[in-house]
Homo-oligomer: 366 residues x 2
């Protein structure tokens, strides 16, 4: 069951579903080089922390192909393993710069680099072959991981619930299936009656264009609202819980996610409904102590002042366009990873989660 | 100093600045009849509670002209005063239906009706003449009232402050000057260093198109952000206070205002900054006990799924588009009217405000 395929890999070309064109058109961008992938990440052809991580892993294979394979579009001179590794280190640095907040990008690149360093003594052909296997593993593991997140999270969703979500933490944000929407999928296809409110998620409208499209496509009831209307529906009792994804989770549980997430967490607390973060454990970055240390990407003013070429604001207006905000862990009811459910995440619980990678010892609600 | 003129009246034709076309084009719609004005209110050519109230008052004059003046575009048969009054009662009912939430609309219409009822024994010509004077008074009083609101409110704005506002409670939302932006104007032109964050205010983008334009035009520093980014800037300490307008204030102080206002009040409380509502006392509706009794207008899905003809969402998607939300009075730091500042509004304080119409006895902060 993978109706929606944001990332297709055939061993030579990485095809990325152009998410800027959805829902009107389903077009794939063909990436043959690292710079093709970097461009696609920067321009949000591919977006969503896990999907960026997977795309970056394949980009590392493309980087290797570029200097080892004559068919890769460049004149490939015979290269040594050392030369290949040097080239890959450069490609890794280039990839990591493409978007600063989502940690899965670094995670995917570093996992590929780690493999190549271990294979330093192997032939370039062997390294390339193993890289291809590793990237495909990362792809498959992401889907498996999402399904586990979905199945854990579904236990938190009561039959008859209305779930509010923000941005797109769906199949389109991952290799497939989704994190926050994975929870929705598992609950829905597990037989529960579920409805979703999707925040449109300005400025890039991932909710309107992607989440609405994805859920509509699979027959999951979805209602689109503007971001400012979330409070209206939450306070009127129409929302039972909020589930969002994450771009980076600090060691203390503070979570960076799409701009607008923090206000939902505050509204959830004010109105006594649970606020859940669903994300693979690769989103946890224990090198970051708290949310204050997370770099928040600022994107172009154009995203705010125009939509698809249609101007929305006076010329020359000053704009601030932070792409993410930080939700403090004290506002998070539970963190849902592939390892289980961590209620009221704290530094200690997240350290344990990362250390054991077996899941927290919290008891699930009956 | 009335650089921005949303409403122009020459005694025969009501010209409304078409706010759907701003900021690109400054075009006036010529209204010669009640139905012209009703159409303009419904389609948001004119919007903002006070501006709608003023436009509706002039619409009543147009209604009278339609059956008393041969030059008003209809074949005006001689009409009796009773016939005129009957016609005006019908026009009033028609006008009041055009938008349900803003109370100023009913207020403006009822004030005109009250005048005509008192003049029942006068000639149709006399009634028309007095109606014209009354509507012009309503127009002038609105601007005077806004300036008083501005001057009271400015006392709450410290030098060097950054004020966040939502929607457009500016000159464009009133006869001129504005309520929330009246406070900003009074503070700014009173010599204080002020900067404004303007929420773009989806779906109709009054912040991006109107507030940004209005402030830019007068040289008041303004930064445009998406609605979901308000929490980011509030929690990071970049916002000193929030000032918004109101469409209807219940007797207990609960306030209906543009969708997205409630979340700002919750964010203000969470982050310990003041949340101010600036509105003329005509916005208070003591016939409504609390926010629960305020009718919230639902507008068309098209406002959410498309911007100026550009589609933003998949075809056939379910949409909810409430135009307002209710901020409970417990989240309101102060209500600023032309009569003064009512800190922590309660039913008792609002009853007193309405009864005395002299302003509450609260002491201003030093």
């Amino acid at each position: 069951m993978q109706a929606i395929k944001p990332i297709i890999w055939d061993g030579e070309i990485l095809q990325l579903l152009d998410q800027r064109m959805l829902p009107e058109e389903e077009i794939y961008i063909q990436c043959r080089s690292v710079s093709d992938v970097v461009g696609s990440i920067k321009d949000m052809v591919v977006r969503g922390a896990p999907a960026i991580g997977v795309a970056a892993a394949f980009a590392m294979v493309l980087a290797a192909r570029q200097i080892t394979c004559a068919d890769a579009g460049e004149e490939a001179a015979p290269v040594s393993s050392d030369g290949l590794l040097e080239h890959l280190e450069e490609a890794a640095a280039y990839l990591k710069e493409s978007r600063p907040t989502a940690v899965n990008l670094s995670w995917g690149v570093d996992r590929m680099l780690g493999l190549t360093r271990r294979l330093r003594d192997a032939s370039p052909d062997k390294i390339l072959k193993e890289m291809n296997i590793e990237a495909e593993n990362i792809f498959r593991e992401d889907i498996d991981c999402n399904k586990k997140i979905g199945d854990w999270g579904a236990q938190l969703i009561r039959n008859g619930s209305t779930v509010l979500t923000h941005c797109n933490a769906g199949a389109l944000a991952t290799a497939g299936y989704g994190t926050a929407l994975g929870v929705v999928r598992s609950a829905f296809f597990g037989g529960k009656k579920i409805a979703v409110f999707a925040n449109e998620t300005r400025p890039f409208l991932q909710g309107a264009r992607l989440t609405a499209w994805e859920l509509q496509k699979e027959g999951i009831p979805v209602t689109l609202i503007v971001d400012g209307a979330a409070g209206y529906f939450i306070s009127s009792g129409a929302v039972d819980c909020i589930v969002v994804g994450a771009d980076r989770i600090a060691e203390n549980g503070d979570t960076a996610n799409k701009i607008g997430t923090y206000m939902l967490a505050v509204l959830a607390r004010e109105n006594s409904i649970p606020f859940y973060v669903a994300a693979p454990s690769s989103t946890i970055d224990i090198s970051v102590s708290s949310g204050e240390d997370i770099v928040v990407e600022e994107r172009s003013a154009d995203e705010v002042t125009a939509v698809r070429g249609t101007s929305l604001a006076p010329a020359g207006i000053e704009v601030k366009n932070p792409s993410f905000d930080i939700t403090p862990s004290r506002l998070i009811t539970a963190l849902i990873t592939e390892h289980g459910i961590t209620f009221f995440p704290t530094r200690e619980k997240i350290r344990q989660l990362v250390r054991e990678m077996k899941g927290p010892k919290d008891i699930l609600p009956k």
